[in-house]
């Protein structure tokens, strides 16, 4: 494997500009995971997932929160600013352009199908975060249990993310403090 490139501010900005411009169909944390964890190895798996939790329980667009934290972690306040800016600017511009274009173009059913297909593929990126997580946690039953408990309470029982995390995370911390890694 090649050595990972240094996370310079310029490289962080370019990476986030790229994701911001190309992430059609969503799945943004999947893009971030591939760029910051799998490809460059700037952030560890566990650090990514922990930061993601923080980004999700605090108010705001989760991925924007996440990207600000990743930037801070790798290059301080300047990194946070550049990452956030690079990440938000292209979507803000393109959403306005797209709205104007679609206003003037009649849409065909096959276009709708193609756009839906983008979103389905983007879901595959998010599945990769889940898959890698299960692989990492498989030898630690309580981590699998914590993962399942969150999934069930949010996706199946429809508790809000905040409620679910506030109930389950403290239990998870208690167990983590008692069990040696």
């Amino acid at each position: 494997m090649d050595a990972p490139p240094e996370p310079t501010p310029a490289r962080l900005l370019l990476t986030c500009l790229k994701i911001g411009s190309l992430s059609f169909g969503g799945g943004l944390s999947g893009w971030l995971y591939r760029e910051f964890v799998l490809r460059t190895r700037w952030i560890t798996d566990d650090e990514f997932a922990t930061t993601l939790t923080l980004a999700q329980i605090l108010p705001g667009a989760n991925v924007v929160n996440l990207v600000a934290c990743l930037g801070e972690r790798l290059a301080g306040p300047r990194g946070a600013f550049l990452c956030t800016l690079g990440f938000i600017l292209p979507p803000v511009v393109s959403v306005v352009l797209l709205a104007e274009i679609l206003d003037h173009v009649a849409t065909a059913p096959w276009i709708d199908a193609a756009l839906a297909g983008l979103a389905y593929a983007a879901l595959g990126l998010l599945l990769q975060i889940c898959w890698r997580g299960v692989l990492r946690f498989r030898r630690t039953p309580w981590q699998i249990a914590a993962c399942l408990a969150i999934f069930a309470s949010v996706a199946l029982a429809h508790f809000s993310v905040l409620t679910a995390v506030l109930c389950i995370a403290p239990l998870s911390v208690l167990i983590a403090a008692r069990v040696r890694p």
Partner: protein, 176 residues
């Protein structure tokens, strides 16, 4: 100018209570833009929502489109800033504080405890997105195919996967 002030007055507080992220505030945005201020019709709002699903980036760009509709370019910029800046700054501050303790033992413990929580949240998000996306069997099929390819060929780029998804979905649609 008053329109910009109205936008700021509505969006800044919304940013700070938007627990659950972009999807959680869609209902609130609709209430503000359609019912309270009449900035757009329900039809226009739905259309704007569809556009944000397709465009790259986070779905919160819905507020950008509301700003654009209200006051053009300056409205779009004001609304984007108002919806992103307060919450991002808050999260940044909390992260910066906790990151100072990154090497301490309690932080490592916290990380082992919260990593599975983060993964569980992503999994829950995936399921709710499958529900929203519709499409029946083709949606999980394409998503799993993409996962399989990414795992077997880790160097595969994401754009070819998006193209594959779009292509397969069109083929599926064209089938009798």
């Amino acid at each position: 100018m008053t329109a910009i002030l109205d936008l700021l007055r509505e969006m800044v507080p919304l940013s700070l209570v938007s627990f659950g992220g972009g999807t959680a505030i869609i209902a609130q945005l609709e209430s503000i833009a359609v019912r309270q201020h009449g900035w757009m019709t329900a039809q226009e709002f739905l259309h704007a929502f569809a556009v944000t699903r397709v465009a790259p980036g986070p779905g919160t760009t819905l507020s950008t489109l509301i700003g654009w509709k209200v006051a053009g370019l300056s409205g779009a910029l004001a609304a984007s800033l108002a919806i992103y800046a307060p919450s991002t700054f808050l999260c940044y501050a909390v992260f910066r504080w906790s990151n100072g303790h990154r090497h301490s033992r309690w932080y490592q413990t916290l990380q082992r405890a919260l990593a599975p929580v983060g993964v569980g949240l992503v999994a829950a998000g995936v399921l709710s997105l499958f529900r929203v996306a519709g499409g029946g069997l083709v949606a999980p099929l394409i998503a799993c195919l993409v996962l399989l390819i990414l795992e077997l060929r880790p160097r595969t780029g994401i754009l070819p996967m998006l193209a594959l998804g779009a292509g397969l979905s069109v083929l599926w649609h064209l089938m009798p």
